[in-house]
């Protein structure tokens, strides 16, 4: 059980406090309710570029990192298609330093021209390092465009193309800040060796005076139900053929999400999982195979991907994957198999909760989903999934008409 207290400031900022007296540290985690899905199609990659700019100085503090490091702290941030999360960890005695830094950049950035120029380049190098200069680096770029026709999950967090990042202007940056970075679009979590009274005092002092701003109303075009199978073929300079298949699943808060999540575990959650045992070990068609989903807030994708053993035909590999899916649809799973994936989930949750920084981030993300207490009820939701639901959902999800397939061929 992870205890926490919740309160709000008059300007709409939600604050959660999770006390853990066993650590000398404190974590201050600020989540902004904005991700790549909130971008417009001709200015993608912006939420992530903006995350970089948040370290380029704020209205009253020329540099962010130095005062934090001087206080013995560390920080980092990440952007997803759904949200942007910033955290810093520092000795609990120096907690106020984090409040000072985080509140000033919520109040206003410095909007430095130099910072924008440099971070555009840095993000372009990040783009190249992860998505261009790596074999198979462009897969998700292509797969998202195939699987989504309408919803902004169509593009990756890093952006559709380098030029979107290269062309970002200071006016774009300012408008983005005004729209998304204010107390009514943020969740503050303070965790570690802190007291609720102290956090209340510091939150009022540093975040209280920030104007509420306008609550961003998200109104994204929903992805229409897919009604026929889609596929695309790529032939490029990679050493091995690879197969990628995706099916639409459910939003994060839908109860069927938990069923879909357990299906991924049954198919590829380790050395005794179905796809690995059948396709890597017995039939030796793939040298590796994974089944996963990204846990996205809006309806996401369940993915199976694998690299083919040299000499194996794509059709043969795909047929073998389909055969495993049909087996799941027709025969379902045993009670023991269900117990196994539930035990694994219990264990994964326990390990995830080991560090205060991950507890703080989880609380913020669950609060964004509607209620931080989900952190304590998740396991029960997994436990409630039945073998029958898994079989039924496997019929709905792995419907051919719901599938998107990327055939990725080596031209070597």
């Amino acid at each position: 059980m992870i205890q926490f207290e919740r309160f709000s400031l008059d300007n709409g900022l939600t604050v959660l406090v999770h006390q853990d007296k066993s650590t000398p540290m404190a974590v201050v985690n600020v989540l902004y309710d904005v991700g790549a899905r909130d971008e417009v199609p001709d200015k993608t990659g912006f939420a992530h570029l903006f995350e970089h700019l948040m370290f380029g100085g704020s209205v009253n503090i020329p540099v962010y990192d130095e005062p934090l490091q001087l206080a013995g702290g560390e920080n980092n941030a990440f952007t997803t298609n759904d949200l942007t999360n910033y955290y810093c960890q520092l000795p609990a005695e120096n907690l106020e330093t984090a409040f000072w830094l985080e509140s000033d950049r919520m109040l206003s950035l410095a909007f430095s021209k130099k910072s924008l120029e440099v971070q555009r380049k840095v993000v372009c190098e990040e783009f190249k390092e992860h998505y261009i200069n790596k074999p198979y680096g462009d897969v998700w770029h292509k797969m998202r465009e195939l699987a989504y026709t309408t919803h902004p999950y169509r593009w990756m967090t890093i952006g559709k193309e380098l030029s979107h990042v290269e062309n970002a202007t200071l006016d774009d940056v300012k408008a983005f800040f005004r729209k998304h970075y204010n107390p009514s679009n943020a969740i503050l979590v303070v965790a570690g060796n802190v007291t609720v009274e102290e956090v209340k005092r510091l939150a009022e002092k540093w975040f209280g005076p920030i104007p509420a701003g306008e609550k961003y109303q998200r109104n994204l075009p929903p992805e229409p139900k897919q009604t026929e199978a889609r596929s695309a073929t790529v032939k490029t300079n990679v050493p091995l053929d690879a197969l990628y298949k995706c099916w639409h699943i459910y939003p994060r808060t839908d109860m069927r999400y938990y069923t879909a999540d357990l299906i991924t575990e049954i198919l590829s959650g380790g050395g005794s999982s179905r796809l690995y045992q059948s396709l890597v070990k017995e039939k030796q068609l793939f040298s590796n195979i994974e089944c996963y989903h990204l846990g996205s807030t809006d309806a996401g994708l369940l993915t199976i991907e694998g690299k083919l053993v040299k000499g194996v035909k794509m059709e043969e590999a795909e047929a073998a994957v389909n055969e495993e899916l049909i087996k799941l649809q027709q025969e379902g799973i045993s009670q023991r198999e269900l117990d196994k994936v539930k035990n694994k989930t219990e264990s994964m949750i326990a390990f995830e909760d080991m560090s205060i920084s991950s507890r703080a981030a989880s609380l913020a993300i669950y609060e964004l989903l509607g209620d931080a207490n989900l952190i304590n009820t998740e396991l029960d939701r997994y436990r409630a999934v039945t073998a029958e639901e898994i079989q039924n959902e496997s019929k709905i999800i792995f419907d051919e008409r719901n599938s998107n397939t990327l055939y990725y061929y080596s031209n070597n």
Binding site: D20, M25, V59, I61, E66, P67, Q69, L70, A71, G72, G73, E74, L90, P91, E93, N94, E96, T97, L107, V118, Q119, K121, V122, C124, E125, E126, E129, I132, N133, K134, P135, K205, P209, N237, V238, P239, G270, G271, S272, S273, Q277, V280, K281, Q284, S287, N288, K307, V309, K310, D339, K340, K344, E346, S347, M348, A350, F351, M354, S355, I356
Partner: protein, 425 residues
Amino acid sequence: MNRTQAPHIKDAVEFDLKLKPYQSFSLDNGVPVYAVDAGAQEVLQLELVFYAGNWFEQQKSVASATNYLLKNGTTTKTAFQLNEEFEYYGAYCNRSCYNETAVVSLSSLSKHLPALLPVIREMITDSVFSSAELDIYKQNTKQRLTVNLKKSDFVAARLSDAYLFGEDHPYGKYTNAADIDALDDSLLKEYFRQYYLNGRCVIFVSGKLPADLQQQLNHSFGDLNIKAFDNKLPVIHALPAAEKKYRIQNDPDGVQGAIRIARSFPNRHHPDFMKVMVLNTVLGGFFGSRLMANIREDKGYTYGIHSYVQNHIQQSAWVISTDAGRDVCEATIEEVYKEMKILREENIEEDELMLVRNYLVGTILGDLDGPFHIMGRWKNLVLNNLTESYFYDSVKTIKTISAGELKALANKYLVPEDFYELVVI
């Protein structure tokens, strides 16, 4: 309220860092066990560390293949069944092969330890290394290698180690497809017999520990023919390359170059080691480092640039590593040497030094969060044949080293002629 005014801070150097002590005992066969009982979650991590790394192999890749295939079949269980044993309990059993050591580790809810220890015992006493499992391993390892060889950073890392230590040294050798082809099951069985069945071992366990831990471990491992880990290794001399500068073309379409600038460096027992850890932090050891400030935050040549001292036991290397835009690789290298020159010629200002001291102390304080991290520190000391005093001396060095000492170290070590320099595009 004045937002330009930083709140008062307690300087991190005033913090009193304490490394939570371990409990230790020996199994009946003398194998030492180090245990840290801490944490709120009902989980634990167990590591059996054998002297079975690639230091001991006569032929390349034998150590890593043997280690990997420990979970791929015993006389009574198939690979599938072994995996099923762990996965049913939501546990993870991993194998990792390093230079000196090879490890079998278990991460599990504490309550399942009694069910899982017998499975681990079976793996380290009764693995069969069937040729069918080995063939699959060879095929898939080769496939993974062909993908990795397309990555410039992978190629740069292995070449740079080969220059530093020589291709025949455990720290410098790397695997080619032919080495994997040359593996056969008899080699693995012999390696297993020598370095696991009759090997040297030390055990680390941390987390929420059961009261009868000692009995449980002794019952599962105390009667085996393994001996206590002794920190004694056969000597293998490095044979560094004579040529220092390399430019390699790996992918004609590459848009970035993987850069490695590296020099040999002594191990943790050398008096300069812990001092250089501070100098390295200034140079490229954290986000606020000189290299990051100049090459990422001022010039935007890269997403990240880092320097570090390799985590080796016998001898080490000091490495600067980055991926930079293809057109700015040479400019990046020039800037790295410029930063070295500044450290040789100018004292680090007190403000910057204080920031680095506080950052490092804060990082250690944060890193002592939780039983696994605490055990990680102890494991590092034990495997490097160091004692608790090394931890406290390091903290003292961070708090007290002077700008003058750091400048002297820069003059001793940050000498461009001593560095290998490599770009792989």
